[in-house]
């Protein structure tokens, strides 16, 4: 197996605040890796740097053998690194299908498409379970639908690596399982590599092959789910507080 993404000493500062500090890890092709960490650990910031949405203060991101640090974010998408957002970002005033179709219009999506964008979009809507709602404007979609819409739009670019920022947040139990099944399918059948942030631990741990744990912008552990749940620092920074957190949510 070869490496699809390598983070080399990524540091990101917001004024005096060090959101990421010398973050290093590598992702293998076709694997599912999780990013674990308490609120404010720097997980979303890491995604923003990897996908080129914000520049790194220091460090290098190598995707598919190519340095992508400093590259425009849409170029990175067209190299095969797609992302979703922690809060879904649909195009207001458009239907679900049109939203997905926009994702089918990028150069990478166009180059790989065998069908017209609208046909492709319909197939993607079907794939994420939005087929019945494809004609509905996004204002009338549920939160769970918007999450799936974001994922469908990201998938339209035929990514080789997909960054998912809390895809299960706000989803009911009936919506969680189908989405997990879809992610497993994409990984198994198409070899899509996934890097996922998720606070729903039981689902998270069953999905991922490996976990990178962050706290205060630093990597504090990197290993299999079994290793991570036994890691003293992870327990202290995150898992110990997890029950509290879930109690708060309830």
């Amino acid at each position: 197996m070869s490496t699809i993404l390598r983070a080399e000493g990524i540091t990101r500062r917001f004024g005096g605040h060090l959101a990421l500090s010398d973050v290093r890890f590598a992702l293998e092709e076709g694997t599912v890796t999780g990013v674990l960490g308490p609120n404010g650990a720097g997980k979303t910031t890491l995604f923003n740097v990897l996908s080129g949405f914000i520049p790194a203060t220091a460090g290098t991101v190598v995707f598919d053998g190519q340095v992508v640090t400093g590259m425009r974010s849409d170029r990175i998408v067209n190299l095969g690194l797609a992302r979703t957002f922690q809060l879904p970002r649909p195009f207001i005033g458009m239907t679900a299908l049109e939203n997905i179709e926009v994702g089918c219009l990028g150069p990478r999506a166009r180059a790989r498409a065998r069908q017209a964008p609208a046909v492709q979009a319909a197939a993607l809507a079907e794939r994420v379970g939005l087929a019945a709602k494809s004609g509905i404007t996004v204002a009338n979609l549920s939160y769970g639908d918007l999450r799936r819409l974001d994922i469908a739009r990201a998938l339209a670019s035929h990514p080789r690596l997909l960054l998912l920022d809390e895809p299960l947040a706000g989803l009911g139990p009936s919506e969680t399982e189908p989405l997990l099944t879809l992610l497993r399918q994409l990984n198994a059948e198409e070899g899509l590599a996934i890097l996922i942030i998720e606070h729903k631990l039981s689902e998270f741990m069953r999905l991922v092959d490996r976990v990178v744990a962050l706290d205060y912008g630093k990597v504090i552990a990197d290993g299999t789910p079994a290793e991570i749940v036994r890691d003293a620092r992870v327990i202290e920074s995150y898992l110990g507080g997890a029950e509290e957190m879930e109690a708060e949510d309830a």
């Binding site: 849409d74 797609a82 992302r83 005033g93 179709e101 926009v102 994702g103 219009l105 990028g106 670019s157």
Partner: protein, 326 residues
């Protein structure tokens, strides 16, 4: 549904084409002609600014440059007046590229400010370079495009119909979809792999082409070019038309342009008050009818019409081809 839109458009064009037959008189025909030219501008402005949501306060730049270069070609180099049209389009497109390239890459107010500044600077420059531009007096004694006023009315109508058809088609194409997505969320467009800057500059160039085209038409309509074409007033009138018509609809601004030009020409005796009227209309459109007046009115009418058709007796419904009911 599409057939209703097409029917409405045909009816409107037929009505405009029939107007000169009613002998409206030279003055009213002139006002109508002006309305048609404003229609080209309003549609052109709407294509970039209405679809992407980036207001352009300096649209006069493209109008003025088109008119002046068309005018130079005709008065200095004595080229055929028809040759001015492609020149005006080309000059507008190049100006859009020059202003758009450095400013549309940035987020924030840079584009709006740069467009405004460019049109103001150009207006001043025309006065400073009065030896070449004629200063306040502008360029005079342009050749007419066609001999009669009625013929010119039809030329303007033909260009308006062509422009509106092209822009409407583009706005419903994939390009239009991307532009509306940019209006919604630029970052999400980038996440979809789209080069947002490319699309914004491209749409500004298309928008400017129609500004320049209308500028040359206007020059050969007045047979004169003056620095006021660059003015903020000019741009504000067009912006008001676009808002009153309904942003991003193309046809709404066209209709609003014709109606408002007629209305304000009739207000000409009030002189300076005309700007006030435009400003009040714009405020009303912004606060009371956020989607404008023309486009929502047409949508409502269209719904009523299609309800009427669905309620038609059975034989009538069967007579329609199956495709039209969808």
């Amino acid at each position: 549904m599409r057939s209703i839109d097409f029917g409405g458009a045909c009816l409107a064009v037929a009505a405009l084409a029939a107007l000169p037959l009613l002998n409206p008189g030279e003055y009213l025909l002139g006002v109508l002609t002006l309305g048609l030219i404003y229609g080209i501008w309003a549609a052109g402005w709407d294509f970039m600014s209405g679809l992407t949501g980036r207001a352009n306060f300096g649209y006069g730049l493209f109008i003025g440059l088109g008119a002046y270069f068309g005018g130079f070609a005709n008065t200095l180099w004595r080229t055929d007046p028809w040759m001015g049209l492609p020149i005006g389009v080309g000059v507008g497109v190049i100006a859009a590229l020059l202003v758009g390239l450095p400013t549309l890459r940035l987020r924030g107010p840079y584009f709006a400010l740069a467009m405004l500044a460019a049109s103001v600077v150009m207006e001043r420059l025309v006065l400073i370079l009065w030896r070449y531009t004629g200063g306040d007096e502008g360029l005079n004694d342009l050749d007419p495009l066609v001999e009669s006023h009625v013929a010119f009315y039809y030329v303007a109508l033909a260009f308006l119909v062509g422009s509106a058809a092209i822009l409407l088609r583009l706005s419903h194409s994939r390009l239009g979809l991307v532009l509306r997505a940019i209006r919604g969320d630029e970052a999400a467009c980038q996440a979809a792999g789209l080069d947002v800057t490319f699309y914004k500059i491209g749409s500004l160039m298309i928008s400017a082409a129609f500004g320049g085209l209308g500028g040359v038409l206007y020059a050969h309509f007045q047979l004169q070019v003056s620095p006021q074409l660059f003015s903020m007033q000019m741009a504000m009138a067009i912006i008001t038309m676009a808002y009153v018509g309904g942003l991003g609809s193309i046809y709404g601004p066209v209709v609003a342009a014709i109606v408002l030009t007629l209305a304000t020409e009739l207000l000409r005796p009030f002189g300076a008050w005309r700007l006030l009227v435009y400003s009040i209309l714009l405020i009303i459109a912004l606060f009371l009818a956020r989607d404008g007046l023309v486009a929502p009115a047409w949508q409502a009418l269209r719904r009523a019409l299609s309800r009427g058709r669905d309620a038609a007796p059975e034989p009538l419904r069967q007579a329609r081809s199956p495709g039209t009911s969808a």
